[in-house]
């Protein structure tokens, strides 16, 4: 078991004369036994980071430590790391037993009988003991996936690395395996780095989530932290489904007298959007901000609020997704299934100031995130 530290990790590729930065100055610590999910859009450098930790890519700059051992220049085979690949990468000419035992055979001097015992008990744990004598091509996708996992587990490595291991499974199986993988990881207590582009998977599985974009680490935190207190607009937009509503707004400052009395500022946005802030400290010296509101924080109200036009209503059964148009901006609201406005209807929407996110329009950095009461209790539970 090991804590993984990346210290200023950078990776550049060279295509022709051009250098493409895949990972830039990544500092992160993954705790011993922790399940960290690296998430981000495709091409954000998450897989490259994983491959650097695995030793499959040379590092351009920086260091990788397991515990206090420097692994930066060690070959993959000397790192005691097991990796599960997206397409499983089972050896086609070996049966399941040989596939699972291959690593132990090569990297340890364990006697064959003992390897066989280990393979069999792992196969039993994974529920694949009947498949031991079959070749990979005789197995279904789900079975291959289990074998690939079993092959990683049987080695009892210091670190598990998983590169989108569930993305080739159908939705139902994926949800099942997600839970199973989490249980397995907690049981084994092996430090795990898991790469996915699916933020739902990331939220559901990770002890902590590391969000990456353009080779740069945006934020590391628990799922609640990245959801409720995103470091910037990118993280806010990437995490959460449906995505957060974002639009630009001007800050209208009150007359000096009102300000002195503690009265806040007003946000003015597209389509006559107007929102009076009670606490204007976040927008004190700003003229413009980006406003963010989560779909579940939007309410339909009879009076007050702001006006928007319904474009589409999606009935999900337990709730409805309402797509709205407000001054050329598209908004999404997640509302109770009993409320069913029709397309073309005009509705009034409202939200609490505690649920409001504000971002700097230039840097995208968060200037205000959720401050409602949930935050404190959640951190205490954890």
């Amino acid at each position: 078991m090991a804590q993984i530290t990346t210290d200023g990790l950078s990776k550049e590729y060279h295509s022709g004369d051009e250098a493409v930065v895949a990972v830039e100055d990544l500092d992160a610590t993954i705790g011993d036994g922790e399940f960290l999910v690296l998430v981000g859009p495709s091409g954000c450098g998450k897989t490259t980071t994983l491959r650097c930790i695995a030793g499959l890519e040379d590092v351009t700059d920086g260091r990788i430590l397991f515990g206090d051992r420097d692994m930066t220049d060690r070959r993959a085979r000397n790192r005691d790391v097991a990796m599960v690949f997206q397409n499983y990468a089972l050896y086609p000419h070996m049966n399941v037993r040989e596939n699972m035992g291959f690593g132990l055979k090569l990297s340890t001097d364990m006697p064959a009988a003992e390897i066989d015992d280990r393979v069999e008990s792992t196969a039993e744990m994974m529920g694949i003991e009947e498949l031991l004598d079959q070749k990979p091509k005789e197995l279904s996708g789900g079975q291959q996936q289990r074998v690939a996992l079993g092959r990683a587990i049987v080695r009892e490595p210091e670190v598990f690395l998983m590169d989108e291991p569930l993305s080739n499974l159908d939705a139902k199986l994926r949800a099942e395996m997600r839970t199973e993988l989490q249980e397995l990881q907690h049981e084994l207590g092996v430090t795990t780095v898991y790469v996915t582009h699916d933020q739902t998977e990331a939220m559901a599985m990770g002890d902590r989530i590391a969000v990456m974009n353009d080779g740069v680490l945006q934020q590391v935190g628990t799922p609640e932290e990245v959801y409720r207190s995103p470091a910037n607009e990118f993280v806010a937009d990437f995490i959460g489904s449906p995505s957060i509503n974002l639009f630009a707004a001007d800050v209208e400052r009150p007359a000096r007298r009102d300000a002195a009395e503690g009265r806040g500022a007003t946000l003015r946005g597209p389509g006559g959007f107007s929102y009076a802030l009670d606490d204007a400290s976040a927008v004190e010296d700003r003229d413009r901000v980006r406003v963010g509101v989560r779909p579940e924080d939007l309410r339909l109200v009879e009076r007050g609020g702001n006006e928007a036009t319904v474009t589409v209503t999606e009935h999900m059964g337990n709730e409805n997704f309402l797509y709205l148009e407000m001054g050329g901006e598209e908004l999404t609201a997640r509302i109770d299934s009993s409320l069913r406005p029709e397309p073309g209807d005009s509705v009034r929407i409202e939200f609490d100031e505690e649920a409001l996110y504000l971002f700097d329009p230039e840097s995208g950095d968060a200037v205000k995130t959720k401050t409602d009461e949930l935050g404190a209790s959640v951190t205490e539970v954890r």
Binding site: A54, L56, R77, N87, A89, L90, Y91, H93, L106, S107
Partner: protein, 278 residues
């Protein structure tokens, strides 16, 4: 519908007739060779010609052996071709693996340089190679026939193309499992390449088996002759020993026939493999 069926039937009939004719065209000379090998020379040349095999095969072989030790040539050819095939398979698959799966400086120029050697005809290489062998003191040796062709450009090309299809993840997975680079090659790459290796074996074996001009120049003693070189001795100035040539020819195709039968399943799939982009 019936009209279409009928047309289909006619078309099929024509296709099969054509194919049968093509098969006959191919088989007749081989049959003729076997017939000729089993008849005494006068009977073979008689008119009207005889189309049924005779009983003189062993007698003809005896006469052939009396003129030169043909069976020894067969032995030489088999030995040279087998050793060459094994050695060249190893070299070609290692080179192919390196070209397909590793990055190194001047990889492309080196590869295309190797391919470019294909345009050099053997006739051009015979003299320099002969001089080289003389300098090594290797004339009249097996290694003189085997080594110069051991790294076969066609073989390297074939293996590179096929090794490219091995998914990188498979090799990376083995690396993570603790495999050394050489273990990647012989425990992962080679076993997944069985059909390509069978195709390669046949190509290399045939190449060496049919090699004529170069051995003719380098091998001077009859005891070292390979089959094609021995053949050349059977065409005299005064007389052509058709019966003996046919016996020799019949014997010389047997090993190839056996090799192809043994590997044909893999060979066909090996040739097809890589023809489609997957």
């Amino acid at each position: 519908m019936r009209e279409a069926d009928r047309r289909e039937g006619v078309w099929q009939f024509l296709t099969y007739t054509f194919l049968l004719a093509a098969v006959a065209l191919t088989l007749v000379p081989i049959y003729w060779m076997v017939v000729a090998a089993s008849l005494p020379q006068p009977a073979f040349l008689s008119y009207p010609p005889r189309f049924l095999p005779g009983t003189e095969f062993l007698a003809n072989l005896d006469a052939l052996q009396g003129r030169l030790d043909f069976l020894r040539s067969v032995g030489n050819s088999v030995l040279i071709a087998v050793v060459y095939t094994l050695l060249s398979m190893l070299l070609c698959s290692m080179a192919g693996f390196a070209f397909a799966k590793y990055e190194f400086r001047f990889k492309e120029p080196i590869f295309y340089g190797i391919l470019a050697t294909l345009v050099l005809p053997i006739q051009l290489l015979v003299i320099p190679l002969f001089l080289l062998m003389v300098r090594f003191g290797w004339t009249n040796t097996y290694q003189a026939i085997i080594l110069p062709w051991a790294a076969n450009p066609i073989g390297i090309f074939l293996m590179r193309q096929n090794m490219k299809k091995i998914p990188d993840a498979l090799l990376e997975s083995a690396r993570m499992d603790g495999a050394t680079e050489f273990q990647l090659f012989y425990r992962i790459a080679l076993p997944t390449m069985k059909s390509s290796l069978a195709a390669l074996a046949i190509i290399l074996f045939l190449f060496q088996w049919n090699l004529f001009l170069y051995p003719l120049v380098v091998l001077q003693e009859e005891s070292m002759y390979t089959i094609p070189v021995a053949f050349a001795q059977l065409v005299g100035f005064q007389r052509v020993y058709y019966d003996q040539i046919m016996v020799a020819a019949t014997i010389s195709i047997l090993p190839i026939f056996a090799l192809f039968l043994a590997l044909q399943k893999q060979f066909v799939s090996g040739i097809l493999a890589g023809s489609l982009k997957e």
